[in-house]
C-alpha cells in the first residue's frame, strides 16, 4: 500500500454525528488535519473530545449516525479497528489497558510485524536497538521490555508507554487523549519533548487536553474549542491563554451557546464486533 506523505496527507472529519446507546455525543463535527499540523482540542468535560478520538479509531461501542471520516480522501468508517491502525491512525489512550502475561516487547514486536508485508522480515537487532532507545528517551527504566503490558505501571508510566508505542509504530495521524493526565511536571516535559521530536510533515497530531500546561511543551498550529459535540471556535495561542484565565463561559456567552446537562460517558466494556 502506498500512502500519501507530507502535505498531501489529510484526515478529514465531515459533519459527523455520533451516538452511544442512543445518546448523541458528536453533533455535526468538522475537522481537517493535514500532515505536519498539530491541532489541540480543548473543551469542558463531556463535550465529546474523547468520543472524537475513539470514533476515528473505530471503537465498536460508538455509532456513526451520519457524516464521514476521510483518510487521504477515502472514507474509513467501514474499516475495522486494526485496519485503521495499519492505515496509520494511532490513539494514545486516556486509560491504557493492562494485558497480563504479555510482555511489552512481545506486544510491540507483534504490532510492528503485523505492519510488514509478507516478504519483509523483522530485523530483530535493529528492532531491539530502536525499542531500547525509545525506552531510554522516555526514561522508562531497565526491564521495560520484559514487564507485562501496562500491568503494575504507574499512571505516568502508562502514558509514557503509549508514547513509546507511538514512536515504534510511526503513525501518520495520532490522537493523544489527555496524555498529560497523571503526569508530573518532569514527565510532562519529557512526553512533550518526545512528541515534539516526532513532529514532521509525515505526522498529523491531534492533542486532546484540558490544560495549557501540555501545550507549553507541544506547540499547536491550531486550537479548537469543542462544546456540545462540535467545534465552535478555532484560533491559535490566544485561545489557550484566554481559556486558561477565564475557562469556557466566555465562549458560550460570545456564541450564545446554551448549557446542556452533559456528563462524560464512561465505557466499561465494549462488544466484540468491530
Amino acid at each position: 500500500m502506498v500512502f500519501a506523505g507530507g502535505i498531501n496527507m489529510t484526515l478529514e472529519i465531515k459533519d459527523l454525528y455520533v451516538s452511544i446507546e442512543d445518546n448523541l455525543i458528536l453533533k455535526g463535527l468538522n475537522l481537517k488535519v493535514n500532515g505536519g499540523e498539530t491541532h489541540a482540542i480543548m473543551g469542558p468535560n463531556g463535550t465529546g473530545k474523547s468520543t472524537l478520538a475513539q470514533i476515528c479509531m473505530g471503537h465498536p461501542s460508538y455509532k456513526i449516525e451520519s457524516g464521514d471520516i476521510l483518510l487521504d480522501g477515502e472514507s474509513i468508517i467501514d474499516k475495522t479497528v486494526d485496519e485503521r491502525s495499519r492505515l496509520g491512525l494511532f490513539l494514545a489512550m486516556q486509560n491504557p489497558i493492562e494485558v497480563p502475561g504479555v510482555t511489552n516487547f512481545d506486544f510491540v514486536k507483534a504490532a510492528v510485524q503485523t505492519r510488514m508485508s509478507k516478504d519483509e522480515h523483522l530485523r530483530i537487532g535493529r528492532f531491539i536497538l530502536k525499542f531500547e532507545k525509545a525506552s531510554q528517551d522516555l526514561k522508562m527504566g531497565q526491564g521495560l521490555a520484559h514487564r507485562f503490558l501496562n500491568q503494575g505501571f504507574s499512571g505516568g508510566e502508562k502514558k509514557r508507554n503509549e508514547i513509546l508505542q507511538m514512536k515504534m509504530l510511526n503513525p501518520r495521524f495520532a490522537f493523544l487523549d489527555e496524555i498529560d493526565s497523571g503526569l508530573d511536571v518532569d514527565a510532562l516535559k519529557l512526553v512533550g519533548q518526545n512528541v515534539t521530536e516526532l513532529k514532521s510533515n509525515d505526522l498529523g497530531l491531534v492533542l486532546i487536553t484540558h490544560y495549557q500546561r501540555l501545550l507549553d511543551y507541544i506547540t499547536p498550529d491550531f486550537v479548537h474549542i469543542m462544546i456540545n459535540g462540535k467545534i465552535v471556535k478555532t484560533g491559535k495561542d490566544e485561545l489557550i491563554k484566554r481559556i486558561d484565565q477565564e475557562g469556557y463561559d466566555w465562549v458560550k456567552k460570545e456564541l450564545g451557546i446554551e448549557e446542556e446537562d452533559v456528563k462524560p460517558y464512561s465505557l466499561g466494556v465494549c462488544p466484540s464486533k468491530h
Partner: protein, 303 residues
C-alpha cells in the same frame, strides 16, 4: 517404549514401561519406589505403565531436586503417585500427562512434606482425553511450604475434574495455588480448590488464585475455591476470575494494528506465558509450547 527424542539425550533420564527400565540417572529404584539422594535435574518418562497402581518418589533430607515427569498412556488407567519430601528437602516438579488415544486418566498425586520442606509443582494439563486428578498436599512439618501452579488447556469435548487439597498440619506452613485455566470448544473444566488450616497452626498462610478464560460459548469452567480455617492467627485469601476474553484488551491490541486472530492469540499467550517462563529446561519448554500451539491451532481449524 517410545521415548521422546529429546529425552534420549538427557543424562539424567529415568524411563520405564511395564517391561523395560532405563536408569541413566542411576537413582535407587526398587519395584515401584524411586529414591532421589543427589541434587540434580531428573527427567522421568513413564510409558504406558500399569505394573503397579502406585509409584513412590522419595526426596532425601536436605536435597534439592528438579524432576520433569512426563507420562504417556495408550489406554484408560488409574494410577497414584506419592511424593515424600523429607526434612529441608526441595522439589521442583513439572508434570505433563499425555495420551495417545484420547484415553481417560484417573490420577492421584500425593505429597507429604516434612519440616522446612519446599514443593513447587508445575502441572501442565494439556491432556487430550478425560482427566480426573486429585492433588493432595500435606504440610506436616513446621515451615513446610508449597506452590502449586497449574496451566490447564481444555479443548474438544474433554472433561477435566481437578480436586486440590492442601492441609496445613503444622505452624508457619505456607501454600500458594495459582490455576490458569483455558477452555475452548466443548471442554469442561471443574476445579475444587480447598485449603485447610487446623487449629493451633498459627502463622500459616494459604492463598488461592484462579483465573480462567472461555474461548467458546459451549465450554465451561467451574471453580470452587474453599478455605477451611480453624485458627485465628493466619493469613488466607482466595479468588476466582472466570470469563470470556476481555473486550477492552482486545480493542487495545486491535488499535495497535494486530488482526483479531493475532490479538486473541496474544491474549491467550498472556495466560500461558507466565507458566512457560517458570520452566527452566529449554527442551521441556519447547515441548509444552508445541503442545499448546497444537491444541490452539486445532481450535482455529475447527472454526
Amino acid at each position: 517404549m517410545k521415548i521422546l527424542q529429546f529425552l534420549k539425550e538427557k543424562k539424567t533420564l529415568v524411563a520405564f514401561d511395564n517391561q523395560q527400565l532405563i536408569n541413566n540417572a542411576k537413582i535407587k529404584i526398587k519395584n515401584n519406589h524411586l529414591d532421589f539422594t543427589k541434587e540434580n535435574d531428573y527427567f522421568v518418562f513413564i510409558d504406558n505403565y500399569d505394573k503397579y497402581d502406585k509409584l513412590s518418589f522419595n526426596i532425601e533430607k536436605d536435597i534439592n531436586v528438579r524432576i520433569y515427569l512426563i507420562t504417556y498412556q495408550n489406554k484408560n488407567i488409574k494410577i497414584e503417585y506419592d511424593f515424600v519430601l523429607n526434612e529441608s528437602s526441595k522439589l521442583e516438579l513439572f508434570t505433563n500427562f499425555n495420551t495417545r488415544k484420547n484415553n481417560d486418566l484417573d490420577l492421584k498425586v500425593n505429597f507429604e512434606l516434612s519440616e522446612n520442606a519446599y514443593l513447587k509443582l508445575m502441572n501442565a494439563l494439556v491432556y487430550n482425553g478425560n482427566l480426573n486428578l486429585l492433588t493432595r498436599v500435606n504440610l506436616n512439618g513446621k515451615k513446610a511450604a508449597c506452590e502449586l501452579e497449574v496451566l490447564n488447556i481444555g479443548h474438544q469435548n474433554n472433561n477435566f475434574t481437578v480436586d486440590q487439597f492442601v492441609r496445613h498440619l503444622n505452624k508457619s506452613t505456607v501454600s500458594n495455588i495459582n490455576n490458569s485455566l483455558i477452555a475452548n470448544q466443548m471442554a469442561k473444566l471443574n476445579y475444587s480448590v480447598s485449603g485447610f488450616i487446623a487449629k493451633g497452626n498459627e502463622l500459616s498462610k494459604a492463598h488461592q488464585n484462579n483465573k480462567g478464560i472461555m474461548l467458546s460459548d459451549k465450554c465451561e469452567i467451574e471453580v470452587e475455591p474453599k478455605l477451611f480455617i480453624d485458627e485465628y492467627n493466619v493469613e488466607a485469601s482466595h479468588g476466582a476470575a472466570i470469563g470470556q476474553m476481555d473486550e477492552m484488551q482486545l480493542y487495545y491490541l486491535l488499535s495497535r494494528g494486530l488482526t483479531e486472530q493475532e490479538a486473541r492469540s496474544l491474549i491467550i499467550f498472556g495466560y500461558t506465558n507466565p507458566f512457560l517462563s517458570m520452566i527452566e529446561d529449554k527442551d521441556i519448554k519447547r515441548m509444552l509450547t508445541s503442545q499448546i500451539t497444537k491444541v490452539m491451532k486445532e481450535k482455529a481449524n475447527n472454526e
